[in-house]
Symmetry: C2
Subunit: 225 residues, 2 copies
DNA sequence: GTCTATAGTCGGATAGAC
DNA sequence: GTCTATCCGACTATAGAC
């Protein structure tokens, strides 16, 4: 190993702990997860958790920040573009519509299809259901931006829609996506799904987008709400 | 207390434990909830939990059964009627549509507006995210019936829809409702809601039904999926 | 910086009096 | 059937060697 090597592929104890923490916290939740499991999965000693992260809670918060940064890396520019699209002089309805469909489709792919979703998405969903101190990070850097982006596009598509109504509608649309992660076990039993496989992910995305399009069309044909 | 007295209004220790269990398990989840909290809230001794329910786990399962029976009391006949409506000779589209809207609207009212929802709905949502041994009860007596009812109505409304597609669509529609319970904290911050108040519940129900109607209309105007 | 050993705390279950 | 007292196990965190 020459010293000139720029990035070492060898992962540090700290990084391995973070990865393991996302895994175990995502699977079991904060209370049910134990530092023993995490340390074992990371292949490090339990004592390194208080050493690096000031204890279980600190590790949890670090893990939340870690996944939020992953999500920003994945969706950040798309969200940025959508914000700009809406503030433009002449908001293009067709562009808004396709941006909305791209975002929702991307979230479906991530939520349902991504191999890391079962850990990452579950941590976020748990924080929705049981907000901890780490919720602020998720809210400000992910949830608020996503909901606001969708809501903004809806106001472009539907001129007289109030911001409040647009946000409630944005939440409802997100619900159509997240339910497939929250209710994965129910889906497996109801439909007899396996994974989700690529085919199943595609079918779900197609259906969600179809519903969304129907909703938008019908809203456009009505007085604003 | 004469022996002839039929039903005692005085709640038994067992019943009080069940009520307290729904409260505490709903609030904190199985792991984070402690038998000490539950016993204290019920005003009974901790030792009565192993005595009556064979321990924490048994109490949890009994609490699940308890809320499932509450839900059946509330929605059972409606679900029954919907099953019959769909198997009739001449499935009435208008009736199916209004039945669907009634069911979804009722679920919104229960999920968002009912004072007992924050405990009951949260226990069910937790089981969706982290199925335990008790999940079977919830699945067979609640989830499967609800999803199947919605899916059946969708096939009435949309003749060539496959059962599989109908179920996926039913899940998506349920997601529009449940998201307001899962993401309550996000809603509070995004919209500045309080409770939910009666007004907020009404607005959410109105919006969800509007979306659903739009989805159905657009599906009716397309080739089946 | 990483380990072993252990301290300190807490939660669930049990024994046995009443 | 309900209580008190207590045990046992599991978990997090710390001390200190290396």
């Amino acid at each position: 190993m020459a010293k000139t090597q720029i990035t070492k592929p060898k992962s540090t104890a700290k990084d391995r702990l973070l990865e393991a923490a996302v895994d175990v916290f995502g699977k079991y939740g904060f209370e049910a997860a134990t530092t023993r499991m995490i340390a074992k999965k990371a292949g490090v000693n339990i004592a390194s958790i208080p050493y690096y992260f000031n204890g279980k809670e600190g590790l949890y918060q670090a893990a939340i920040t870690y996944i939020v940064e992953k999500i920003e890396a994945k969706f950040g520019t798309a969200l940025q573009n959508m914000a700009e699209l809406a503030t433009g002089e002449n908001p293009n309805r067709e562009a808004a519509r396709s941006a909305l469909e791209n975002l929702l489709g991307g979230i479906v792919s991530f939520m349902v299809g991504s191999p890391e979703a079962p850990r990452v998405a579950r941590m976020i969903l748990r924080e929705q259901l049981d907000p901890s101190a780490a919720y602020d990070i998720i809210y400000s850097r992910v949830m608020a931006r996503v909901i606001d982006s969708i809501a903004t596009l809806l106001t472009v598509l539907m001129e007289n829609m109030s911001p409040r109504s647009a946000r409630i509608r944005a939440m409802a649309m997100m619900g159509q996506v997240t339910v497939f992660r929250v209710g994965r076990e129910t889906m497996v039993r109801m439909i007899g799904l396996e994974g989700y496989t690529q085919e199943e992910t595609d079918e779900i995305r197609r259906i969600v987008l179809e519903h969304t399009r129907g909703t938008i069309e019908s809203l456009s044909a009505r007085p604003a709400g």
